[in-house]
């Protein structure tokens, strides 16, 4: 295999889950002997793309060619045999902690091999060879459970290397590693690059990207929206392409803001982060933008009482706000519609009505007894308000499309009056129409409360917000009114803080 020749080629690869188009025609080449970095915000479709390549999902359309031959693995083990090796984000997916290093390194052989009894000595010798081949110095008789995360990851990569792969996919491999540990991983990746392996590296960390990237692809909304391979690499351009900005038809007229609702003073989200102060007002929709890992989720968790801040004060309507858990936050009038609805929000066994009334069953009860009539009235009203497309209020929640499920989750928190409504990535996995509907509803109901929307893409912020905050390094680094806004200034804040950090390391 020659350096620079495409090891894997994708043309017009498509994939949808139900009505949700996740990959909308991916065209890309990944050349041998190079590190191709893939960047994209949450929900851009990176994970789905990886899953298509490693045989977890099969594509709905388009073609994948590996070394010129058609490649459509039906299972992960088929992809592995064909020479496409994937190291997943969750390190423990790649190893069996209870077994020793040698057994882990030979796991695939054990699983598919013949014979019944283990030949320990042979296994150890073979395992040492495999470990040595990737420069992993480790006692192969140690149980993997005793190893550090970094070593576990190297073991899972070494295991993959035993197959002499043509292509290696790493999905955010450094997300749980320290700087020193990451360095060892980078050395290994560079060694594999020398050997002519095509490497697809998915990451948000600018420091990783600067160190490794030969080329950068930016992905957005199920498409490749930018390819950067001229040296020096245009890192800012890549981040801009990934965050994206198309002028949308939504026309925001920033209204007069009302009384202050949530006053945040000198809040420190984690040790060493810069303190910031922000005030959220009635009739004001604040969008918070920033890269993954910029502290958006931490900010949301602190507001909703899921974790305490390191320092600083929060005042709600003038009184102190320091909820110990979600229950206290809700009682105080601070509601949060969490991200990842299927994990954090949807009660799959419940119908639409039961999902909507979940936090406020007390309002729909006399004593302890539920009033089904009251519940149903609320559900019908919210379904109509939000424009949820369904047969009726007693449809199972999973019969709805992703966008409609999300509308129900937002409706859950709009059914009662709040002082501060937090929406964490409410547009995740949602089609454009549902996104518009939800955005409009957020805007309509805003006068009576403060609203903070955490967004993955800048477009979303421009569509719903009166005011846009930019987060980086667990602090707020920019604060903009959404009028005649200088998008490139915001982009610069999102990107520069991240690249400056990387350069400083």
């Amino acid at each position: 295999m020659n350096v620079g020749e495409p090891a894997i080629q994708l043309s017009d690869v498509r994939k949808a889950f139900g009505q949700n188009q996740v990959l909308r025609g991916i065209d890309l080449d990944i050349p041998a002997g190079q590190v191709t970095v893939l960047m994209g915000a949450n929900g851009a479709g990176k994970s789905t793309l990886v899953k298509v390549l490693c045989g977890v999902h099969s594509a709905d359309g388009g073609e994948v060619r590996l070394d010129g031959a058609p490649f459509a693995p039906a299972t992960p083990s088929e992809a592995l045999r064909a020479g496409v090796v994937t190291v997943h984000q969750n390190i423990n997916d790649g190893v069996v902690p209870d077994l020793d290093v040698a057994s882990n390194l030979l796991l695939d052989t054990l699983a598919s091999g013949s014979g019944t009894f283990l030949k320990r000595r042979e296994m150890r010798a073979r395992a040492r060879e495999i470990a040595a081949a990737v420069g992993l110095e480790i006692d192969v008789t140690r149980p993997v459970a005793d190893l550090t995360l970094a070593d576990r990851q190297l073991v899972s990569i070494a295991r993959a290397m035993a197959h002499a792969p043509k292509m290696l996919i790493l999905d955010e491999p450094t997300s749980s590693l320290s700087a020193v540990e990451a360095d060892r991983l980078f050395d290994l990746i560079e060694m594999l690059r020398e050997r002519g392996v095509a490497i697809l590296y998915i990451s948000h960390r600018m420091s990783d990207i600067r160190r490794l990237a030969d080329r950068i692809l930016s992905m957005r909304d199920g498409r490749i929206v930018g390819a950067f391979d001229e040296k020096p690499l245009d890192y800012s351009g890549a981040v801009r392409a990934m965050l994206g900005h198309e002028m949308t038809e939504v026309d925001i007229r920033v209204p007069e803001r009302g009384r202050p609702v949530m006053e945040i003073k000198d809040l420190v989200l984690r040790e060493g982060a810069a303190p910031f102060s922000i005030t959220a007002h009635e009739n004001e929709v604040i969008a918070v933008a920033g890269l993954v890992g910029s502290g958006k989720s931490t900010f949301a968790s602190v507001l909703f009482g899921l974790q305490p801040p390191v320092a600083g004060t929060m005042r709600l309507d003038g009184g102190p706000h320091l909820p110990a858990n979600a229950r206290e936050a809700i009682r105080a009038g601070v509601f949060m519609c969490p991200r990842d609805r299927l994990v954090n929000a949807v009660v799959t066994d419940f119908d639409i009505t039961e999902n909507i009334t979940l936090p406020f069953t007390r309002r729909h009860s006399r004593g302890s007894f539920l009033s089904f009539r009251s519940e149903r009235a609320t559900a019908r009203k919210m379904i109509a308000d939000m424009g949820v497309i369904c047969q009726g209020a007693d449809d199972g929640i999973l019969t709805l499309s992703g966008g409609n499920q999300q509308k129900v989750m937002v409706a859950r928190w709009m059914a009662e009056a709040s002082r501060l409504l937090i929406l964490d990535e409410p547009f995740q996995g949602v089609d454009i129409q549902a996104r518009r509907d939800i955005g409009r509803k957020i805007r309509e109901t805003a006068p009576s409360r403060g609203t903070i929307v955490f967004v993955a893409e800048l477009d979303e912020a421009l569509e719903v917000a009166d005011r846009i905050l930019v987060m980086s390094e667990h602090s707020v680094v920019g604060d903009h009114r959404n009028e005649n806004i200088d998008v490139s200034a915001i982009m610069a804040e999102v990107v520069d803080a991240a690249t400056a950090r990387a350069a400083g390391q």
Partner: protein
């Protein structure tokens, strides 16, 4: 296509009830004396105790848990209530009160082990089961409790089972309906009302389906889980007291089948009316179904040792109804 769907829907929804009706018709024809009030009462009496235990398990299944200790809690309540009356020579009120408190306390311990110490539910309640099976034998050095028994210190226990206590297990209203059957019906209705009509029941179902979502919606997940195990422990001790009252002695060997029978009834309940989830009505029907089947087979002179096999077969068929036919993935785990 539409037609086929509705046929399957009907099968899922009413299949199990139809099966039960068919069974009743079959036994009425083949087994003489099956379709009499006396036989019906006998069936109800035979399922009363397992039914009550099964309703307890149901409450733990609802929050996505499981309670393996119910059989051991019931036999512990049996031994404790006997001990209170025979050795401590106290009256029926205290025998019942101590037993129920013990059941609630064991449920509380189970809940704390699972919620606070993060022991997986099956292991926590399994451990508690072994612990109780051992503990209940220590005070009497492994012997059954009855009036006139010799205690470890050489004295003779003079206490007796009070008449009031024995009534709980033996009295029949109008010489026909046993008191224990009345208890079953009342408890079944209470559990049904609690789970289906109160907001507490609704939140418990939410926890069983997605505990994370319930928590982020402001539900006190830990408290509800502990309450579920306390309901389970308390109902198991009710079953144990009724068993003691029926037997009239603290028999160490009784109650071996309680766990299996009641878990089977609760799981069969998943299939009733296509609920695909734990529910009080289904559990009661499940217990009744097993009772009818065993009574009919006994009247047809089927040998006693085939009973467990038949119960197992019914359980497997019911689980097929629930999981395969309805095409749902169920609740991830039981």
């Amino acid at each position: 296509m539409k037609q086929a769907n509705t046929a399957i829907d009907l099968a899922i929804k009413f299949g199990f009830l139809a099966l039960m009706a068919g069974l009743i018709v079959f036994f009425s024809i083949t087994a003489e004396g099956f379709l009499t009030p006396f036989s019906a009462v006998f069936i109800l009496q035979s399922v009363a105790i397992t039914g009550i235990l099964a309703l307890g398990v149901t409450s733990t299944l609802v929050v996505g848990g499981f309670d393996l200790s119910i059989g051991a809690v019931a036999t512990s309540a049996l031994m404790l209530s006997s001990y209170v009356m025979v050795v401590w020579e106290m009256n029926a009120f205290w025998a019942v009160t101590f037993s129920l408190m013990m059941g609630a306390f064991v449920g509380f311990l189970n809940g704390v082990l699972i919620v606070k110490m993060r022991v997986p539910d099956l292991l926590a309640t399994l451990g508690m089961m072994f612990l109780l099976i051992g503990a209940q034998r220590i005070p009497t050095e492994g012997r059954s409790i009855s009036t006139g028994m010799a205690l470890p210190d050489g004295t003779i226990a003079d206490g007796t089972f009070s008449q009031a206590f024995l009534m709980l297990g033996r009295h029949r209203i109008g010489d026909l309906v046993p008191l224990s059957v009345v208890f079953l019906i009342v408890i079944a209705i209470l559990v049904w009302v609690f789970l289906e009509l109160t907001r507490h029941g609704r939140l418990m179902y939410a926890i069983g389906s997605n505990a994370q979502a319930a928590s982020l919606a402001g539900t006190n997940v830990n408290r509800y889980k502990i309450i579920a195990y306390m309901i389970s422990g308390t109902l198991a001790s009710v079953g144990g007291v009724l068993l003691a009252a029926r037997l009239g002695r603290g028999d160490v060997a009784s109650g071996n089948n309680l766990l299996l029978d009641s878990v089977a009834a609760a799981l069969i309940g998943f299939a009733v009316l296509g609920a695909s989830k734990p529910n009080a009505f289904g559990t009661a029907i499940g217990a009744l179904f097993v009772g009818i089947l065993l009574q009919g087979l006994t009247m047809l002179n089927a040998p006693y040792y085939t009973q467990d096999f038949i119960k197992g077969a019914v359980l497997v068929v019911a689980l097929m109804f629930t999981f395969a036919l309805s095409g749902r993935s169920g609740r991830g785990r039981i």
